[in-house]
């Protein structure tokens, strides 16, 4: 089944012109989730200053929906505090894209998981810093 004839204009826009591709210059946290055997892997890096995500960039191996949700989540978390960012759900990401085809909803879970993993990584690094 072709799901992508059901992609919204917003999904296509973020797929064609993904925002924030790459790795932030000074990563405060990095999350890598997914599995190439499952067909999608997302790497999200964030730069945090005074509890605020000042930059976020992604690299994604995955279908059109995975790339679009990756791009969208970076847009949504930039400028947010870590607490606010943690409240960004996969559903919110999908909604911001005008919805995803049902079979593609798992792609938005990948984005949420990557976000949590990056923030986790940031907290872990903070702890290590504090121990020093």
């Amino acid at each position: 089944m072709d799901a992508w004839d059901e992609y919204t204009e917003k999904v296509m826009d973020h797929y064609e012109h993904p925002r924030n591709v790459g790795i932030v210059e000074n990563p405060s946290g990095i999350g890598v989730v997914g599995n190439p055997a499952c067909g999608d892997v997302m790497k999200l890096s964030i730069e945090v200053k005074d509890g605020i995500i000042v930059d976020a960039r992604f690299k994604t191996f995955g279908c059109g929906a995975a790339i679009a949700t990756s791009s969208m989540v970076t847009e949504m978390i930039k400028g947010k505090s870590l607490e606010e960012a943690l409240r960004v759900s996969n559903k919110a990401v999908a909604e911001s894209l005008g919805g995803l085809p049902k079979v593609k909803m798992h792609c938005s879970v990948l984005a949420e998981d990557a976000l949590k993993a990056a923030i986790d990584d940031y907290y872990k690094k903070q702890k290590q810093e504090n121990k020093k």
Binding site: M1, P36, F61, V103
Partner: protein, 404 residues
């Protein structure tokens, strides 16, 4: 550039000559070929028999060995279940292999559930069957071998003449699903020693909804569809006259044009393969390098997920073995059966060349692929990891469950 159709394993456009041959039977010639009491019926019967003769001629069969069906799925079902249900004695063994079309795989799985034994012949990494393994596993209980002529995803051509000889030597019936092979390679039911053969009209520029099963004289089949005793009792139901005329015409044309068109497709295929290899690195060919259909290529573009690449190249109609193009979220069972790792199966693209494709389109596609593979690799974390020398297959990935 106008959209380009390059998915000819899925289906082909109806040839205008075929449509022209069919038209009278969709309009004024509406007779039922079973009506023997008037001209309308007799003219319809004549058209059906002409179609039967054309199909028979194209595979070296006799006209009365051709049974019309609704398509190759029905032909496969009729061949396998028909033979199984007519075979006397206890439920025996059927030999097949793992890259068959689902019309075969689902049918033998069903028969397995009701007590038959199924053996899947070993395959090499190109998808070729192991003939020794085949012969070793023919038991006294074996009554049918069903091996496709060529695969629709990876194009691998099976050694059907050898399978036929082996089946004959052991007194076992041999069925082949020749849907993808018709018109692209010579097939003769006598020299290849085939007892049953499935074919479909819409893969050879004919209409959808019509196919045929060749049944060698003397082979007994139990019908799946009972009714008015049409097709010598093996397949009841009023005949699809226009469809049969179309199938006959399409088979005749495919047979007549085969050598010339195959040579043209081979050249086009090599142009596409060479173009891809010259402009894109880290590509893997899936399927056999030589023993493959003239119109088929299947490449995995490492680190680039297939659906995203198809989406990027959507001016060209292609297909992928990626899970993201299937509703089951499973990667291609064919690629998995020949040992292609999932991570590469997701990156596979199938190219199915056909009559309408030309060099200009192939060159356009090569450039389109090169541009977008580059773009998507720049976006791919796997590409970075590979460049850093990290082994992607053995990296400890997080478990990612698709069933959220």
């Amino acid at each position: 550039m106008k959209s380009i159709y390059m998915d000819h394993h899925a289906t082909t456009p109806l040839d205008p000559e075929v449509l022209a041959a069919m038209m009278p039977y969709l309009t004024e010639e509406f007779g039922n070929p079973s009506s023997s009491t008037h001209e309308w019926g007799r003219r319809a019967r004549k058209a059906v028999e002409a179609g039967r003769a054309q199909i028979a001629e194209s595979i070296g069969a006799e006209p009365d060995e051709i049974i019309f069906t609704s398509g190759a799925t029905e032909s496969d079902n009729l061949a396998v279940k028909g033979v199984a249900l007519s075979a006397a004695g206890p439920k025996g063994r059927i030999i097949t292999q793992a890259t068959e079309h689902k019309a075969i795989l689902d049918t033998v799985r069903y028969l397995e559930k009701v007590g038959y034994e199924i053996y899947y012949v070993k395959l090499d990494s190109y998808g070729l069957i192991d003939l020794e393994d085949l012969e070793r596993n023919i038991t006294p209980q074996t009554f049918l071998i069903t091996i496709q002529a060529a695969n629709s995803e990876i194009g691998t051509i099976q050694p059907i003449a050898q399978v036929g000889a082996c089946a004959k030597a052991h007194g076992v019936l041999f069925h082949t699903d020749a849907v993808q092979a018709i018109g692209k390679m010579p097939i003769n039911v006598n020299s290849d020693q085939i007892d049953l053969l499935s074919l479909s009209a819409h893969k050879i520029y004919g209409p959808k909804g019509v196919g045929a099963l060749y049944v060698r004289k003397g082979v007994k089949l139990a019908p799946l569809i009972h009714g008015g005793g049409h097709e010598r009792g093996m397949r009841s139901g009023t005949l699809n006259v226009a469809g049969i005329v179309g199938l006959g015409k399409a088979a005749e044309m495919a047979h007549r044009e085969r050598d010339q068109e195959t040579r043209r497709l081979l050249k086009l295929r090599e142009r596409l393969a060479n173009g891809i290899r010259a402009k894109i690195d880290q590509v893997q060919l899936n399927g056999h390098p030589q023993q493959r259909l003239a119109n088929n290529l299947n490449f995995s573009f490492a680190y680039v997920e297939g659906e995203s690449l198809i989406l990027a190249c959507r001016e060209v109609a292609l297909s992928s073995g990626s899970a993201c193009t299937s509703s089951s979220l499973q990667s291609s069972y064919v690629l998995r059966a020949i040992g292609v790792p999932d991570s590469l199966a997701h990156c596979s693209i199938r190219f199915g060349l056909g009559k309408s494709n030309n060099e200009e389109q192939v060159d356009f596609l090569v450039d389109l692929l090169a541009t977008n593979v580059r773009r998507l690799r720049e976006m791919s974390p796997l590409y970075d990891m590979a460049r850093e020398g990290i082994d992607i297959e053995n990296f400890s990935w997080s478990k990612h469950d698709h069933e959220h």
